[in-house]
């Protein structure tokens, strides 16, 4: 049947083009100069893949597919357009959780039908199902925490044992589902319910400060889940895109955890701040109350000023005013630089985005390694709404929760 064959060929060719566009897009997104074209390339790839999937042989239910796409797409478009730049991290968590939920839904459809073609395929569907469901529930909790819907980190004794028990029970049910391809619907339901509960109980005890790492981890997990379901559906575009995101996201998670001086195990299995009970220690150095006018004079007559912005500045929406101030200083011939700590804002690079929003050119912005030596030659360090990232305690006080975290040497200015 030639029509069938050409449709199959068109789909395979289009998925190939999509995979190339995705990888090229991600590559372009890794440089500030080409970053914007990168998302356009990836977007083109997504459009091609989505359109060509309508040609899939043997598809029905178009009356359900189109409304679902429309509702999900319009809601996401609307929310994505109006969210403030400071709230980006939780929106990424939300959209990422939706992807994880979709991967789990694919697994659920395949497993309820019980027609996965063999044990390998069944195991892959189960693995993608648990990872996707955990990512879905966990990302929802992460979103609720960053959005301020959940304000407390819920912890109790034996919590980790409970989580381990939940994980064990989920894996047992998953093995049952994978081993008996026609498992009773009740077992499949139990498996997914336990996976969702596991995602919730895993994420609840994690404090807000660690959330960026967790969101990045769930981003990688969703990628992996998508890749696994790609194997189940024999869909090359899903396999490649999911796996690329899975490995890239894992590396990104490690980079973030390292920048925050937290190991991944620490983030997942201990509450943040548990060690910082006795942060006493006498404060050395002097705190001089200073008038705004004096600050202005100091900076106007300085030859080199380094601005250290923190999340506090972003919450106060002060970045536009700061940029106006900096422009005035530049006009006076002052050498102004921005020093960004890797975790300034809520995740690595978040502060760069916020400054870019205010119009600060990215060549004035330096990161920790580039600028730390320059503090000694700077006349003024202007610290706005930042605290931990310039706290010298991280160099000296071993009982401090931020001990050992690389900091900006602002106290040396």
């Amino acid at each position: 049947m030639p029509g069938w064959l050409s449709a199959g060929l068109a789909i395979q060719a289009s998925y190939f083009v999509t995979a190339v566009l995705f990888i090229m897009g991600l590559k372009r997104m890794s440089s500030p100069v080409t970053a914007r074209s990168g998302i356009l390339w990836a977007g083109a790839g997504m459009a091609v893949a989505t359109l060509v999937t309508f040609l899939y042989p043997g598809m029905s239910n178009y009356g359900l597919i189109l409304p679902a796409m429309l509702v999900g797409g319009v809601l996401a478009w609307w929310s994505g357009k109006r969210v403030a730049m400071t709230d980006m991290p939780q929106m990424i968590a939300l959209y990422n959780g939706m992807g994880g939920g979709a991967a789990a839904a694919i697994a659920a459809v395949e497993l309820y039908r019980g027609e996965t073609s063999g044990y390998v395929s069944g195991s892959l569907a189960v693995a993608g199902g648990i990872i996707g469901a955990v990512s879905f529930a966990g990302s929802a909790i992460a979103f609720a925490k960053l959005q301020g819907l959940i304000t407390r980190s819920i912890r109790f004794a034996g919590q980790q044992i409970l989580n381990l028990a939940l994980l064990g029970a989920t894996l047992v049910l998953g093995a049952l589902v994978a081993a008996h391809l026609n498992a009773a619907a009740g077992v499949v339901t139990g498996f997914f319910v336990l996976s969702l509960v596991l995602g919730i109980t895993m994420t609840l005890p994690i404090g807000g400060a660690d959330m960026p790492v967790v969101i990045s981890l769930y981003n990688a997990l969703t990628g992996l889940a998508v890749g696994l379901e790609g194997f189940v559906l024999n869909n090359a575009a899903m396999i490649i895109a999911g796996t690329v995101v899975g490995s890239a996201g894992t590396l990104l998670t490690q980079l973030m955890a390292k920048a925050m001086n937290r190991s991944l195990g620490n983030v997942l299995f201990s509450g943040f701040g548990d060690t910082g009970g006795e942060a006493s220690g006498t404060v050395t150095g002097s705190l001089k109350p200073i008038e705004a006018a004096d600050v202005g004079v100091m900076m106007a007559f300085a030859s080199k000023v380094i601005v250290v912005p923190g999340y506090g500045m972003a919450v106060a929406q002060a970045q536009h005013k700061i940029w106006e101030l900096v422009q005035l200083l530049i006009d006076r011939g002052v050498n102004v630089r921005f020093a960004i700590h890797p975790v300034a804002g809520r995740m690595p690079g978040h502060m760069n985005v916020l400054l870019a929003e205010a119009g600060v050119p990215y060549d004035l912005i330096s990161d920790l390694d580039e600028i730390n030596a320059e503090f000694e030659t700077a006349d003024v360090a202007l610290i706005i709404g930042a605290n931990d990232v310039v706290n010298p305690v991280a160099r000296t006080d071993k009982s401090s929760p931020i001990y050992g975290m690389p900091i900006l040497n602002a106290d040396k200015a």
Partner: protein, 101 residues
Amino acid sequence: MTGMVALYIFMLAAFTGYEVISRVPVILHTPLMSGSNFVHGIVLVGAMVALGNATTPLEKVIGFLGVLLAAGNAVGGYVVTERMLEMFKSSRQRGGTKGTH
């Protein structure tokens, strides 16, 4: 495709992802995380196939939710990534103020 070929694809894609990210400056970490979040929105394709082959009401309900969530992932991921990266474009046009790069 056979299991072995699938395994090779998996390995090569994993290395590709690692390599593509490893040279990224900190300045682009958040946009890139958002961008990779958009890329796994390709799950939409799988969700469409799953719903397209669904027969029982239960499968249809789950498949419907899957497509809805996947579309949200893809569209939302694109919109927020595009919004973030748009700012980098404007900074390039203005560029050359007092750069050290």
